[in-house]
């Protein structure tokens, strides 16, 4: 009965689905609906560009000490002034963006992916695995960050990679928990049953069918977490547990003297502080808007 399908086809052919909007129109729509989020996105993009083209946009080597210009106030030469070793604050902030973004993205990516896989698996398998996993996560969630950071830093030494590790450890359970709760809902949706009914293996279902579907909460989490990681890095550096001199890093710039002469040489403390605030601000604005856009429960009815 080949004619049969042909016949049906004839009917169906003219059904044209609603036209898809080109991306620039979508972008414009988003800009109109989420002006705040777009502002955040702009900040983030500027930061990324700044980090990538740091060599081009900075007048000085961020590591260059010039003892004749120690704590020079902002002027034509040094637009944000110099720090106590005579290094250009502006250049250090620009290069600091590299550190901040590296720490932020790396820890969000690594921690996020780990949390994603753990969270989805936990939800998917359920049962005893889930139960034990949950208890372990409880411990990690309740465990204070300082101890964790201090231990990691003391055991492995300071430095960017270890700071990332110290930030990841508490992030994984948080991420896993958020992912798990969405994944629990996803697990109940028929397309997962459909995948099972098609005879797919566990790994395929977890990675291909479940994980991509918790992307919305995951991405929201991740963007917010990039901001948080930057902030945590700054706080750790401020406590002396983070990135180390002479690496240009924002938290580090606020530490060690910046505070003591915050009044007579405010530029040393103000600009890095603003940089941190602005960066975290940007990521959070962006993440917030992303939440409004991606989270179907919050999507304004249209």
């Amino acid at each position: 009965m080949a004619t049969l399908s042909e016949g049906r086809l004839a009917v169906a052919m003219f059904e044209e689905p609603a036209a898809l909007k080109p991306w620039h129109v979508k972008l414009r729509d988003m800009a109109r609906k989420q002006p705040v989020g777009v502002a955040g996105a702009i900040i983030v993009v500027l930061m990324v560009l700044m980090a990538i083209f740091a060599d081009i946009v900075t007048p000085y080597d961020p590591l260059l000490n010039s003892y004749e210009y120690m704590l020079a106030p902002p002027d034509g030469n040094y637009i944000f002034g110099t720090d106590m070793l005579g290094r250009d604050v502006y250049s250090r902030i620009v290069y600091g963006a590299r550190t901040a973004l590296f720490v932020g993205f790396a820890s969000a990516a690594v921690g996020g992916i780990l949390g994603l896989i753990l969270g989805v698996s936990s939800a998917y398998f359920g049962g005893l695995f889930d139960l034990i996993f949950q208890r372990v996560m409880d411990v990690f969630m309740a465990f204070p960050l300082v101890i964790m950071a201090l231990a990691v830093v003391s055991i492995l030494g300071t430095g960017t990679e270890n700071v990332i590790l110290a930030i990841i450890v508490p992030f994984v359970p948080r991420c896993a928990r958020v992912v798990r709760s969405s994944a629990l809902q996803i697990r109940e949706i028929p397309y997962i049953d459909a995948a099972k009914a098609c005879g797919f293996g566990h790994a395929r279902i977890i990675l291909r069918h479940m994980a991509p579907n918790v992307m919305a909460p995951f991405l929201i989490m991740i963007t917010a977490f990039v901001g948080q990681a930057i902030l945590t890095e700054a706080s750790l550096s401020y406590l002396g547990l983070g990135v180390q001199e002479p690496t240009p890093a924002w938290g580090l710039m606020l530490q060690g003297g910046a505070e003591e002469f915050a009044e007579s040489a405010p530029w040393v403390a103000v600009f890095p502080g603003l940089a941190i605030t602005l960066a975290v601000f940007g990521f959070n604005l962006f993440g917030d808007a992303l939440r409004d856009v991606l989270d179907p429960r919050l999507r304004s009815s249209q």
């Binding site: 049906r8 689905p17 139960l131 028929p190 049953d193 098609c198 005879g199 069918h209 579907n213």
Partner: protein, 337 residues
Amino acid sequence: MNDIATSHRGTVSDDVLISVDGLKMHFPVTEGVVLRRVVAHVKAVDGINFEIRRGETLGLVGESGCGKTTTGRCILQLERPTAGSILFEGRELSGLKGDELRAIRRRIQVIFQDPYSSLNPRLKIGEIIGEPIRVHGLIPDKAKRDQRVRELLAVCGLNPAFADRYPHEMSGGQRQRVGIARALGLEPDFIVCDEAVSALDVSIQAQVINLLEDLRDEFDLTYLFISHDLSVVRHICHRVAVMYLGKMVELAETDELFDNPKHPYTRALLEAVPIPDPVIEQARAHQIIKGEIPSPINPPSGCVFHPRCDIVVEGCPKAVPAFREVKPGHWVACTEV
């Protein structure tokens, strides 16, 4: 048997494809966080028997929560039944593992109720239909597989160009066709249609019903057609089983069941369905069944229907009525018929 295989419902052969015997599915109700104690059971399916013959469409009707979906899921091996056996071509399904299970899964497919949630929103239509074909190694070659996907789309009345679309770019009816195409891709023998048309608008619903019928004839399929819509069931099924609270209360050939219902519940059910004809409706005496469906955790004793039954007798709360054949091919679980 061939006498029921009226021309417009397709042909039914004599050999039994699926046979369900004494199927029970009790979901434990647990309490406690660490030591999960089982405090009760939801008796979702509580001992049902039926057979489906090759080429046949068996309707499974009943109100919400009576265990229709659970029955379907047990056959699909998505749940591990508490008791009972499910034979597919005479082979026991429960207990199958690994490759054997995968092989069986290819032959038993499912179409879900909700066209919105049964398609993975992250995958393109082409991937949704093509992936199972690839995983089961039916068509390893990518180009040929794509060709097959297009064919399947066409067979289901969809534009083959839809392969590059995402589910959200399609209407509900179109998505339901994609779900059907996915199931067909594995060249199954048997398809569980769990409320496959309930979520669709009347006009779209009719399109899909026709499609299902056409496919049944074209590919020699067997359906378990789960629905709460009695009119649709009457239209498409060869035989119909009525469930109530995890039990089967009546099973008969379609027209026999609808024209000559025996069980008081079946009768009440039919009574409750409004008929789209004001004249007939005006003439109908509306005997509305009283009460609500009891909880499957604590089903009533004896005949589970007795608290709502209008012909209840003394013995009803005491003994579980046997599911017996009152007429050839007409089974009822009631002592009073």
